[in-house]
């Protein structure tokens, strides 16, 4: 199975542990990743608030590059996924597509409209199959109570994300949690906002969101939280101590990138999964799993 890989900015920036963890588990899953080194940022919804046409053109450029490789796109970020899906949804309008292609002509690129960007989460459930994933699990995360945290852009809006054609997308993260042997902690916050987009705009509200979701999951007995979105990870992990200080309560809930949790269950080491880079200590979780600390 081969994909045009779109790692996004954050897996090479503020969450540098995500990129190698993804590479390692994809190798085990026989997923071949071909990079598109010239593909730009999706705009993350920020560029779109200034100029949607500009954002859509940049994404169409990436789609055209993947088409030239004749490969489907694989993303590892809920935000990238959502922004690409929304752009692709708008680009189904032939008139709009022609207008956008007009801006790409100078680079000799043309988007024909066949890209199907897919988050690794969806690739696992829809393309690879959970049976295959299960066959690679050598160290099931038995006894670990795991709270899913999706990230807004991979759950809304459902029409652009094609939930109707792919009903599994609504529960994909829970299915992954079960496949790697952990127990799902269902909680209200799982599809809510982590607060990252307003971190530099209204930090107080952003931290209140982090505290609300992590504390809710903890109160329901979660040992860890798992997310397919590195932006959510940045807020929920890196800023968790600050959120705890604001809330006046300790939190200490490890936040795992989805590929890290899968990697641990495949027997890969915490070091290889980049857990030492986390701000919230993951050692108690590793000890509970009987993973040697090295």
């Amino acid at each position: 199975m081969k994909y045009a890989f779109f790692p996004g900015c954050v897996s090479r920036g503020g969450c540098p542990e995500l990129y190698p963890a993804t590479k390692l588990i994809c190798e085990k899953l026989d997923i071949e990743l071909q990079e598109m080194p010239a593909a730009s940022c999706t705009g993350a919804g920020v560029l779109q608030e200034k100029n949607q046409l500009l954002g859509d053109t940049l994404n169409a450029r990436t789609f055209a590059m993947a088409e030239a490789l004749d490969l489907p796109i694989l993303t590892i970020c809920s935000t990238c996924q959502g922004v690409m899906s929304q752009a692709n949804h708008r680009l189904k309008d032939p008139e709009y597509l022609a207008k956008v292609n007009g801006f790409l002509a100078e680079e000799d690129l043309e988007y024909k409209g066949h890209a199907d960007p897919k988050h690794l989460l969806w690739v696992l459930v829809e393309d690879v199959g959970l049976d295959k994933l299960l066959s690679l699990i050598t160290r099931p995360l038995a006894g670990v109570r795991m709270a899913p945290f999706y990230g807004c852009y991979i759950v809304r809006p459902t029409d652009a994300l094609e939930f109707e054609d792919h009903p599994d997308r609504e529960t994909a993260l829970e299915q992954i949690i079960e496949t790697i042997g952990a127990t799902v902690v269902d909680f209200e916050g799982k599809t809510r906002c982590c607060g990252f987009p307003i971190l530099t705009i209204n930090e107080r509200n952003s931290m209140a969101m982090v505290a609300k979701h992590t504390l809710e999951a903890k109160e329901l007995g979660a040992d860890a939280m798992i997310t397919p979105c590195p932006l959510c990870h940045l807020n929920l992990d890196s800023f968790q101590p600050k959120a705890a200080a604001q809330a006046g309560r300790p939190i200490g809930l490890p936040i795992l990138h989805m590929p890290q949790a899968i990697g641990l269950a495949m027997g890969l080491s915490p070091n290889d999964m980049g857990l030492r880079r986390h701000i919230v200590n993951t050692t108690p979780l590793e000890v509970a799993l009987g993973i040697p600390n090295r």
């Binding site: 900015c9 954050v10 090479r12 920036g13 503020g14 969450c15 540098p16 542990e17 080194p37 010239a38 593909a39 730009s40 940022c41 705009g43 993350a44 919804g45 920020v46 560029l47 779109q48 608030e49 200034k50 100029n51 046409l53 500009l54 053109t57 940049l58 450029r61 801006f103 790409l104 100078e106 680079e107 807004c152 852009y153 809304r156 809006p157 459902t158 209200e188 809510r192 906002c193 607060g195 987009p197 307003i198 530099t200 705009i201 209204n202 930090e203 107080r204 509200n205 209140a208 969101m209 609300k212 890196s238 800023f239 101590p241 600050k242 030492r276 880079r277 986390h278 701000i279």
Partner: protein
């Protein structure tokens, strides 16, 4: 068709007023709505069960509530499609205090609508005759004027959940309805005073872009999209001295010049490089990130062919915008 409803109830006059869950099973037509089922509960099972409803046609905006955890109109939701694992879970709308059962207090909702002064405020001399706005100039407002003030967007707003002072999706969408009206503001339809007011804290920049309101809205108002349009209007009108506007500009600059996001420089550029106290506030987190090897690259390299990205910025935004 038998439908089981799991309803969150609250009676302020109970000896110990606390919300509790109660299940009811009622028989309705196959094509019946959630509202039909709720009315059956009131008529056949418990006359004290309270809910607001009127038109049954998604026009009056009375029956917004949380159905299976998400806000919507009970009269616009078919019961058969809402059944999950054999039941439909019903709660009052969120982010507003519950008066009784599904009836919530809308005072804060109306306060915020009033706060944005929901009427045309033309500047300059009054027109001598009727002010005629062309069809073309009003057409784009048709979706936002479809708002029926049901409060579904407010119910599910993730910012209002943590900050009741946020103007919220309904009021901000309503504000856009005026800032985008050619009759409001100056002779060019520019509503400068409004936009300035809306850029203040608790206004347009506090939205997280989570899209809950877009999903919840039963009338296609898409409040978040209106908030994004307000941001664009505010930047265009020159109200750029806010963290939000700086964040958007810094983000855009970074993608334009390198093809991708320079996270390291985004934070100081957003809070303002002269805002020393805010920058010092981030220092402990920056140090922690550095010691854990979580820092974005110090030297932000351009992507290959990033000049092509820049050309797209030039072409799409046009020479006028580029000055």
């Amino acid at each position: 068709m038998d439908v089981t409803l799991k309803i969150k109830r609250f009676d302020p006059e109970a000896a110990d007023p606390e919300s509790f869950w109660q299940d009811f099973t009622v028989a309705i037509d196959e094509s019946g709505t959630v509202l039909d089922a709720l009315i059956k509960v009131r008529e056949d099972h418990d006359g004290t069960f309270s809910l607001r409803c009127s038109c049954r046609s998604a026009i009056c905006g009375s029956c917004a509530m949380r159905i299976n955890g998400h806000a919507g109109l009970a009269c616009k939701t078919q019961a058969s499609t809402a059944i999950k694992d054999g039941i439909i879970t019903i709660e009052p709308a969120g982010n507003m205090p519950v008066i009784k059962d599904l009836v919530v207090n809308f005072d804060s909702f109306w306060d915020k609508i009033n706060q944005i002064e929901p009427y045309l405020k033309p500047e300059g001399p009054e027109p001598e005759a009727e002010y005629i706005a062309s069809n073309e100039s009003m057409l784009h407002l048709s979706s936002v004027t479809s708002c029926i003030m049901c409060g579904a967007c407010v119910s599910d707003c993730t910012v209002m959940e943590v900050d009741p002072t946020f103007l919220g999706p309904a009021a901000l969408a309503k504000a856009y309805r005026f800032t985008a009206d050619p009759r409001d503001g100056d002779a060019n339809g520019l509503s400068k005073d409004r936009l300035e007011e809306l850029t203040k804290p608790s206004g347009m920049w506090d939205c997280t872009r989570c899209m809950e309101c877009v999903t919840a809205c039963p009338k296609g108002v898409a409040p978040m999209d209106r908030i994004m349009a307000l941001r664009d209007q505010a930047i265009e009108a020159g109200f750029t001295n806010t963290n939000g506007a700086r964040h958007t500009e810094a983000f855009s600059d970074s993608v334009e010049h390198s093809g991708w996001l320079d996270e390291l420089r985004l934070v100081p550029k957003s809070v303002g490089i002269t805002n020393i106290s805010a920058l010092i506030g981030y220092a402990p987190i920056a140090i922690q990130a550095l010691t854990h090897g979580k820092m974005p690259p110090i030297i932000h390299k351009k992507l290959p062919q990033s000049e092509n990205v820049r050309k797209i910025f030039d072409k799409v935004e046009g020479p006028e915008e580029r000055k």
